[in-house]
Symmetry: C2
Subunit: 255 residues, 2 copies
Amino acid sequence: MTYCLGIINHHGLIFGADSRTNAGVDYISTYQKLFDFCIPGDRTIVLCTSGSLSITQAVMNHLRQDIKQNKDRNLHTLPNFYEVARYIGSTLREIQEIDRPWLERDNIDFQCNILVGGQLQGEDPQLFLVYSQGNFIQATPETPFLQIGETKYGKPILDRVLHYDTPLHLAVKAAVLSIDSTMKSNISVGPPLNVLMYQRDSFEIHHRLRLRLGSPYLATIRRYWEESVRKTFEEMPEIEWQDDVGANKQEVLID
Amino acid sequence: MTYCLGIINHHGLIFGADSRTNAGVDYISTYQKLFDFCIPGDRTIVLCTSGSLSITQAVMNHLRQDIKQNKDRNLHTLPNFYEVARYIGSTLREIQEIDRPWLERDNIDFQCNILVGGQLQGEDPQLFLVYSQGNFIQATPETPFLQIGETKYGKPILDRVLHYDTPLHLAVKAAVLSIDSTMKSNISVGPPLNVLMYQRDSFEIHHRLRLRLGSPYLATIRRYWEESVRKTFEEMPEIEWQDDVGANKQEVLID
């Protein structure tokens, strides 16, 4: 499994990804799922991948080859972010055309998702989620984050704190904790974590982080979080129990 | 969808359930999913249900009828909790035998799960999860809670704070917040919430709560929680960004 998230807001973008890949519980490996295609000063393009590793690696290879071979359409030449998302979707469709029939006949999962976000000159920062089918959606101020992979465990903490105006230094802690919560609940999501933070209009990523297994920072924030949660519960208003709750009253009365 | 949870620990038991049922997003209703079969002073038996409403309602009807008709084996006569779980499993299997073929041929979901917990005289409190197939598992001190329905959104908060020795008055706040987090992330889980708290060896439930939509307590703890989370992030040690993160460095360099 995988967990990747992208956050977009007024101040910039954050990306986070775990690195664990598994084919069944008896084959666990580490693969990078966060990829940086930036040209400092010109364009910021970051991708995160989830799902079939053979498909997503093939897509990444195509994206790289298109740059190397100076193809007309590649991540370093496309003029706007809508075109970037469209191009990644069509690359994904090409790979699906090649590999999907072979996977499908053996009931092997060929699904995958790709987050892509960043900023091109003359545009606001943008964040897209490209589906297996090559279509895509875009994050908007109302819901300033997108997730792929094992999305549920890490969503409540984001729902509670993320807004379009949340400062990046707070949002990034929520991102790390969202990944940590997912790792704690699903063993197929695991370190190292890769995290990037991009400040709007900087056209360069100055903040990068890789947290390995046993990282002191990860241990510190986990302990800090768990103590805070416990303290919050202790200080939270006590439940006002009710004397008479009809629907909860004894269900069966013997005649 | 549904979210129900049962917590068992050294001090007793807690049950929580939402009340929203849906057949597609265009048919939402309210049904109770928490059922109390206690005989005060003698036995505490609480059930929570998720999944196919027709199946779980049929099971509840059978359980009630068996008590009314003074059947040999019923929830008010069984001598130990293992037998209670076994009896609920076999009742569920009877209903599945009757209805499943008719549902299966139209691809209608017949899956359901039942939480059952409580305490019988001469035994410790116990908590079981009975699956659609009638088999079951029991909660143990290492993992002092069981969930059914939409389980993922509400699990991280429980993983962070629940231990076998967590005082009940804290555990119940975690339970309410676990349900609230699930309601916030999945619109098919919704109020009223029903919550019960049972103190070990009391053989009577003194703490019952029903939180309706717009309940002031629910609004209070939600606000309290969100402010605490935000404050925790503000006070959490800042991320120590790294200057050189090999795997995150620019992925593609044009030759």
